[in-house]
């Protein structure tokens, strides 16, 4: 059975993980020092979700991928330059905060609104993808609420693999405790998938895909609507970096035997 899908990937941007982050008080709550200056990347788990979406769409001809992204327009433009060459998608840009200190429910309302506004949206073909957690807020809440707002009760989090069966059913591997996966079968769309690492490598750059994407990305950025997301009802008493810098002892002059004895002694002493 051949099914065509409408795959909507929700993915925002986060500071490049190699950057040093420092929280500072802002006008409406905590923010990051020099936040607008920090280089950004697509949220890592949403990145995986996008690859998986593109892979699925490629194997189900007639399917289409949208990327719904909420973030400061200028930063979105920078990040899209990088990801445009990776996979074909249509961008739906929303100009707003990508801060981790915003509320998942407010972000979800914005994303769900954007998804509902997609022309020709067909719930019977809809798969909503995203990262199972962001690398900013890290709550794992947004995708659930998006699903609720769209009336989707088949939801999966920590997804590492989707397999489409001959009958169109979807087998899902979800991460559970102890390094195991729960295996589920979902009859078909609509469903929400919060992706973990997935099982695909990063696709190589494809300039032709990049050219095709960019024809849609710039207009999408130009017509991006603004969304004011914040953290209503939340008061941050403090936001601080952990005070746990260790006084590292660098052992250079011990023989391998001595190091091994030291390690074994450390391991075996409770």
């Amino acid at each position: 059975m051949s099914t065509t899908y409408q795959i909507v990937v929700c993915g925002s941007i986060v500071p490049d993980p190699l950057q040093t982050l420092e929280p500072v008080p802002g006008a409406t709550g905590p923010t990051l020092k020099n936040e607008m200056m920090l280089p950004a990347v697509l949220d890592p788990w949403a990145w995986h979700a996008l690859f998986e979406a593109a892979h699925l769409a490629k194997n189900a001809p007639g399917s289409k991928v949208w990327l719904v992204s909420l973030g400061p327009k200028a930063k979105l433009q920078q990040v899209m330059m990088t990801i445009a060459q990776k996979a074909p998608f249509e961008l739906i840009a929303i100009d707003g905060s990508a801060s981790g200190f915003t509320e998942a429910s407010e972000v979800a309302a914005t994303l769900a609104g954007a998804i509902k506004a997609i022309p020709g949206l067909d719930l019977s073909r809809l798969l909503v993808f995203g990262g199972w957690e962001s690398a900013s807020r890290g709550s794992g809440a947004t995708m659930q609420i998006v699903g609720e707002m769209l009336g989707i009760v088949n939801q999966f989090q920590g997804v590492d693999k989707l397999t489409i069966g001959a009958d169109g059913s979807i087998e899902i591997l979800e991460r559970i405790e102890g390094g195991k996966h729960q295996v589920s079968i979902c009859v078909g769309p609509p469903a929400v998938f919060g992706w973990a690492t997935g099982s695909l490598p990063e696709p190589p750059n494809n300039p032709q895909v990049g050219m095709a994407n960019m024809r849609g990305i710039m207009p999408a950025l130009q017509k991006a609507c603004t969304s004011k997301v914040g953290a209503e009802g939340v008061t941050f008493a403090s936001v601080a970096l952990p005070k746990q810098r260790r006084d590292t002892k660098i052992v250079k002059d011990l023989s391998t035997d001595e190091i091994a004895r030291d390690i074994v002694s450390w391991i075996t002493n409770a």
């Binding site: 500071p15 993980p17 982050l21 929280p23 981790g100 509320e103 998942a104 979800a108 900013s136 890290g138 709550s139 794992g140 809440a141 659930q144 609420i145 699903g147 609720e148 009760v153 088949n154 939801q155 999966f156 920590g158 590492d160 979800e174 559970i176 405790e177 102890g178 390094g179 996966h181 729960q182 295996v183 589920s184 079968i185 979902c186 009859v187 078909g188 973990a196 690492t197 490598p201 009802g233 939340v234 008061t235 941050f236 008493a237 403090s238 601080a240 260790r246 590292t248 002892k249 660098i250 052992v251 011990l254 391998t256 190091i259 091994a260 004895r261 030291d262 074994v264 450390w266 391991i267």
Partner: protein, 345 residues
């Protein structure tokens, strides 16, 4: 008066899991500090055994959604059960252990109830200003203490963050609560659980020691050759001697996706760090891993940290480990395994 509801899913009518008892301990402390009443909501195929186990916890009510339909860890049925219990108790706070099962539904549950959810909570305190929680942002890089006005406030409490409740068993009277699983939710069927393809269970959340392997294990050594099979044997042997949990850097698990020489006992489920897990262990030993920030954030809850690396200027040397041994991990681990073998003999 505030009502604190704790949610527990019951596996095969067994005693509640340790994480559920920790959650119960935290909820009791909050209830006592706030003068709130405590209610317990149980979900599963058979509940009486678990309820009896915590009968003396001081809860004023035990409510249960019971039946074969609620045995499976499935979004549609779990959220229906939790919603029904919440509507029957009208709680101010809902506290659930941060298991994969509850983590999957708590935000959706809060949405249905018109409240808000906070997940990955590491501390829960009742003070003069009310209840505050602690949680981490930006992948464990900064810790926030916050409170909120919305109710009900659904909180998923991480494991290992509170002492488990200890008390006597008895006979609990469970109030049955009816929950309707919508037909659309029945489109999903849980068919089983799959262990990692490595065939050996290497992720052990309760282990005292975390052993992390980095990509250096698969790189060319001083003889100009790679020694992945030997690396794998050394790591496997060490895990057998110590019952340690196995972690990995992202670069090592990514090698398998890129089709390069890999350690077959490693899957991306072992990955620690920014896009991996943040496990809790007393000790952590890193080998052949540079300890860069995206990986080291996954060590936030590792108390004692040591590393073996040939580079004295690697990330571990910059305040991320207690001890850095500048040495060849192959040589060191051969000797470590020999010493452990002699000790066992």
């Amino acid at each position: 008066m505030d009502t604190i509801l704790i949610l527990i899913h019951v596996e095969k009518d067994a005693a509640p899991a340790k994480s559920a008892l920790e959650e119960l301990g935290a909820a009791k402390d909050i209830a006592e500090a706030c003068g709130a009443t405590l209610a317990v909501g149980l979900v599963g195929e058979a509940l009486q055994g678990a309820a009896n186990h915590i009968a003396e916890c001081g809860a004023s009510r035990f409510l249960g959604v019971e039946g074969a339909e609620f045995r499976q860890s499935r979004y549609g049925s779990d959220i229906a059960a939790a919603e029904a219990i919440c509507r029957a108790t009208n709680p101010t706070f809902v506290i659930a252990p941060a298991t994969s099962r509850w983590n999957r539904v708590v935000a959706g549950l809060a949405h249905r109830l018109g409240g808000r959810a906070d997940t990955h909570v590491t501390d829960l305190v009742a003070g003069k200003g009310g209840v505050t929680i602690s949680r981490w942002y930006y992948r464990q890089r900064m810790e926030a203490v916050l409170h909120r006005t919305q109710r009900p406030w659904v909180i998923a409490l991480e494991a290992g963050c509170h002492a488990p409740w200890k008390g006597g068993a008895g006979t609990a009277k469970i109030e049955p609560v009816a929950a309707t699983v919508p037909e659309t939710a029945k489109r999903t069927t849980v068919t089983g659980v799959k262990a990692p393809s490595s065939g050996q269970q290497t992720i052990r959340p309760d282990a005292e020691l975390l052993f992390v392997a980095g990509a250096g294990w698969t790189k060319k050594q001083s003889d100009g050759q790679t020694h992945a099979p030997e690396a794998e044997n050394l790591i496997r042997g060490f895990l057998q001697f110590t019952n340690a949990s196995l972690g990995s850097s992202k670069s090592l698990v990514d090698l398998s996706k890129d089709g390069q020489a890999v350690l077959t006992l490693m899957t991306h489920l072992n990955q620690i760090g920014q896009t991996g897990s943040t496990p809790r262990h007393l000790k952590g030993l890193s080998t052949c891993c540079h300890g860069e920030e995206p990986h080291a954030v996954g060590w936030r809850f590792i108390t004692e940290r040591r590393a073996v690396n040939l580079d004295p200027n690697c990330g571990w040397a910059r305040g991320k480990a207690d001890v850095l041994y500048v040495a060849d991990a192959f040589d060191v681990m051969r000797k470590v395994n020999a010493l452990l073998a002699a000790k066992q003999a």
